[in-house]
């Protein structure tokens, strides 16, 4: 058949060469090349089977994965050598094959690699050896043994130490190739139910300080061809419990059958205690996971699913009015009392230990007060807490140091300790047994040594009046303080920058004027004109003063060089170019002409009326020019 096929191909090839079909030729030559190669001796290695187990350490009841890789030309399906403590599903969860062509020492070899993944379950504690048998190229090989350690604890120890016990779940297997899809096909009902997430609390109506248990449950389908993966590879974090004190969670794993499908059930029981009174909500426990389904061909297909629990509301009621000996404990407790001795000397300390055991939030279990011991000095207590993480069985000891200060027969009365029992909804009071103490006189009566706490053990309680602390008897500032208000401080912060900014701007302006003489001339034009006018009027004549004053002003305002040497017509011409108001130009020209006329006429003295008229005209014109020339 093969020969026929080969012959057919060769025949086809020759035919196509003759017909000169180039692309067909290339394809057919390639096929021929691989077919010819297949007749060469197959590659064979000394250890063609390699086996690895992931993880290498699991708990009883937990799953693991075995990867079998076989190299060779003619490979039969591998078989596991039965082991007592583990069960391995003979049907692989993944099957893969790859072929490589190797050319070594001028010899061409084809290496086929078969990869199979199997899923197994650990049944018994111990170290189990896993071995695989397979026929490769007609010869039976056995793989090197691989050891799987099965521990009693369901928690695998191979996880990174940074993960919390809650997160320490078996890492899901990783695959090199997979296809992703979000649309489940025929397997959708199974995939939809492959993960069931539940959360519940032991009680929803509780008292302040009462502990309850939050149970988070994840049921994961236990089929060889379906696996659930989370983005991190770990169990998602529990819901937000910031309104609660959170105790140590208990983890358990079991199997369950739901709708004829096996499920692995992981349960986390977290003790919680509300931090306040009112209604508190526990947010949903969210699983964003992908379900990997291995189809008939062994190729994985991934579907995204999101499962979340319902939010839970918890109503926390306040405690009723408390009895006198209540110190804050809520739960169910017992108390025992022990004393280190009953026959002591004055100053020798006794140790009274009260031990409170039971169920409740340990931080609320406070030490009781020891009252009525007027014959002794009581210090402490030293607090010791055992098993404080597990709130269902706490043990808290309070060690008081009692230092007798006088001799005689005394009694430590029964100590009452009230706690609130949330089951009954009322307070209960515990009582310790009373102790009779005989205190003998010590040799030294003056000083009593208090024992107990390290500080007090070395301290001497002096009964005599202590020395007065020194006073400072001279004070120079005995007068009412004047309080500076906020307003004055704000003013102190705001005012200096404002004033300084004004000063700074003034300086800048001054600088800019110094750097620009034309601007400086313009700014001082009016003042200079009047100054010139006054000077000339006193020393010479009014017409000359008016003429020069006016020319000076116009020259300064318009930046003219030597304005005093200009004629009235030249001044008028310049004004025409700069000033729109023709009337004012005409007036300026007339005044200047009049002044020129009077000057050229050679009149030594002008009449007072003329002077007054010129002066008025000068002042009026100069004011008008101030408005016109900007």
């Amino acid at each position: 058949m093969v020969v026929d096929y080969k012959n057919g191909v060769i025949e086809k090839m020759f035919k196509s060469i003759v017909e000169n079909k180039f692309i067909d030729n290339v394809i057919l030559l390639s096929i021929l090349f691989f077919m010819v190669l297949s007749f060469y001796p197959s590659y064979s290695a000394d250890s063609p089977i390699s086996v690895s187990v992931e993880p290498v350490e699991v708990g009883v009841g937990e799953m693991f994965e075995v990867l079998v890789v076989i190299n060779g030309s003619n490979i039969e399906e591998p078989k596991f050598i039965p082991v007592e403590g583990v069960r391995i599903d003979p049907n692989p969860t993944y099957s893969g094959m790859s072929t490589q062509v190797q050319i070594m020492f001028g010899k061409t070899q084809i290496v086929t690699t078969k990869e199979r993944r199997f899923r197994g379950t650990a049944d018994k504690e111990g170290e189990w050896t896993i071995q695989v048998k397979a026929k490769v190229d007609g010869k039976e090989y056995t793989s090197d043994p691989v050891v799987l350690k099965v521990s009693k604890s369901a928690t695998p120890k191979v996880q990174p130490p940074t993960l919390s016990p809650f997160q320490q779940r078996k890492q899901l297997p990783r695959r090199s190739s997979q296809s992703y899809s979000t649309q489940p096909r025929s397997v959708s009902p199974v995939i939809d139910n492959s993960l069931i997430v539940e959360s519940e609390v032991s009680k929803k109506l509780i008292y302040q300080g009462e502990i309850i248990y939050l149970t988070l449950r994840a049921k994961i389908i236990d089929l060889s061809d379906i696996s659930i993966r989370t983005p991190t590879g770990n169990i998602p974090d529990p819901p937000d419990l910031s309104n609660f004190f959170v105790g140590k969670a208990e983890h358990s794993t079991r199997t369950e059958t739901i709708n004829n499908y096996p499920y692995k059930v992981m349960e986390h029981k977290i003790p919680i205690c509300p931090k306040g009174v009112g209604t508190f909500k526990i947010s949903p426990w969210v699983w964003d996971a992908s379900v990997v389904y291995y189809g008939n061909w062994g190729w994985p297909e991934s579907y995204s699913i999101r499962k979340e629990t319902e939010p839970i509301s918890i109503e926390v009621r306040p405690l009723p009015s408390s009895p006198p000996n209540y110190y804050g404990a809520v739960g169910k407790f017992n108390i025992t009392a022990n004393i280190s001795g009953t026959d002591v000397e004055v100053g020798t300390p006794l140790y009274l230990t009260l031990t409170i055991t039971g169920e409740g939030y340990p931080e609320f279990v406070k030490p009781p007060e020891i009252k009525g011991l007027d014959w002794a000095y009581v210090s402490g207590p030293e607090v010791q807490s055992v098993n404080s993480d597990s709130w269902n069985a706490i043990e808290k000891s309070f060690k008081y140091t009692i230092s007798p200060m006088k001799s005689g027969d005394f009694k430590i009365d029964s100590i009452e300790y009230a706690y609130f029992n949330p089951q009954l909804g009322q307070y209960a009071t515990l009582k310790t047994t009373p102790f009779n103490i005989r205190v003998k006189q010590s040799s030294d009566n003056a000083v009593i040594t208090a024992g107990g706490a390290p500080r007090l053990e070395t301290q001497t309680l002096d009964v005599s009046k202590p020395e007065l602390l020194p006073l400072v008897t001279e004070s120079t500032r005995l007068k009412p303080s004047k309080k500076t208000g906020i307003t004055s401080k704000v003013m102190l912060i705001i005012v200096p920058p404002l004033i300084s900014s004004l000063m700074f701007l003034g300086g800048i302006r001054r600088q800019s004027l110094l750097n620009n003489p034309a601007l400086l001339r313009k700014r001082n034009a009016y003042r200079n004109a009047l100054k010139k006018y006054e000077e000339l009027r006193k020393t010479t004549s009014t017409p000359l003063a008016v003429e020069n004053g006016l020319k000076q002003y116009i020259g300064d305002m318009l930046g003219l060089e030597n304005p005093l040497g200009m004629t009235s017509d030249e001044i008028s011409d310049i004004l025409f170019r700069c000033v729109q108001n023709v009337e004012i130009i005409e007036r300026v020209r007339k005044i200047l002409k009049t002044c020129e006329r009077l000057r050229y006429a050679g009149e030594k003295e002008t009449s007072l009326n003329e002077d007054k008229g010129l002066e008025d005209a000068f002042r009026e014109v100069i004011e008008t020019l101030r408005k016109s020339i900007k």
Binding site: P318, G328, F364, L469, L471, L478, S500, G506
Partner: protein
């Protein structure tokens, strides 16, 4: 005008005399072991508006001998706030704290904060404001004259201006912090419970003993939310504690200290 001026001088003088007399009376009462009388007289001075670290220090001593360690600690703390260099107050505070049940340290600001304001811990509020005012005004005056100075020396003026303004800003920040400090308090009763909620029925979270100091994070009618040195938080009855920044107001109030 002169008459009014003389009248004011005379009135001031006589008032000062009265204060000195009250102060002396208080000191004498203290040395004669009559601490209650001494306390009454010191409180009289405080009610008269005297805010002197020495008066508060002496008052703290009197409270100490009366067995009121909480009040005594509050007085020393306030005296040190007024005058951080009053070493005797520091010594006595140490002594009283050593005699408290737990010798709890005062919750401190974060380390970065303490390093940032390392300079301001030993300076009183008044001194801080004086320094701040000096640097601030000098800095801004320098800024104002920069544009009036010859160009050759302007760069030095700018440098001085920047330095003074920065120093002024830093001391103003310090002054503001001292003006509005985190209220700190001390327990003045033998023992009190810090509850989870501001209610008698709420379970207690931890116990505080006389002389324990803490930060007061919130005040609500009869309750205060306090934070102790271990960052433990709880609600304590206002009457069981004393916030020392309010000490003059508290001592001046009609209720005062019930003795």
């Amino acid at each position: 005008m002169i008459f009014t001026f003389c009248l004011i001088i005379l009135w001031n003088f006589s008032a000062n005399e009265i204060y000195q007399k009250t102060f002396q009376t208080a000191n004498e009462a203290y040395y004669s072991g009559n601490f209650s009388v001494a306390i009454d007289n010191y409180i009289k001075l405080i009610r008269g508006g005297i805010e002197d670290s020495i008066v508060f220090y002496n008052l703290g001593n009197a409270f100490y001998h009366l067995g009121k360690k909480g009040y005594s600690i509050a007085c020393y703390q306030y005296a040190l706030e007024l005058n951080p260099s009053l070493s005797v107050a520091n010594e006595n505070l140490e002594k009283v704290l050593n005699e408290t049940q737990r010798k709890l340290a005062l919750p401190e600001e974060p380390l970065w904060w303490r390093y940032l304001f390392i300079f301001h811990y030993g300076i009183s509020k008044v001194s801080t404001w004086i320094i701040a005012t000096f640097f601030w005004i000098v800095g801004w005056v320098t800024f104002g004259v920069i544009s009036w100075l010859p160009i050759s020396i302007r760069k030095y003026a700018i440098f001085l201006c920047v330095v003074f303004v920065i120093l002024g800003t830093v001391f103003i920040c310090s002054g503001i912090i001292k003006e509005f400090p985190y209220p700190k308090g001390v327990v003045v009763v033998e023992k009190t419970s810090a509850h989870i909620l501001p209610s008698e029925n709420s379970p207690s979270r931890f116990e505080l003993y006389e002389g324990d100091r803490f930060l007061v994070e919130r005040e609500e009618s009869d309750w205060c939310l306090v934070r102790s040195v271990g960052n433990e938080k709880g609600w304590v009855k206002s009457k069981d504690i004393l916030i020392w920044s309010k000490l003059p107001v508290y001592l001046s109030s009609s209720e005062g200290i019930g003795m």
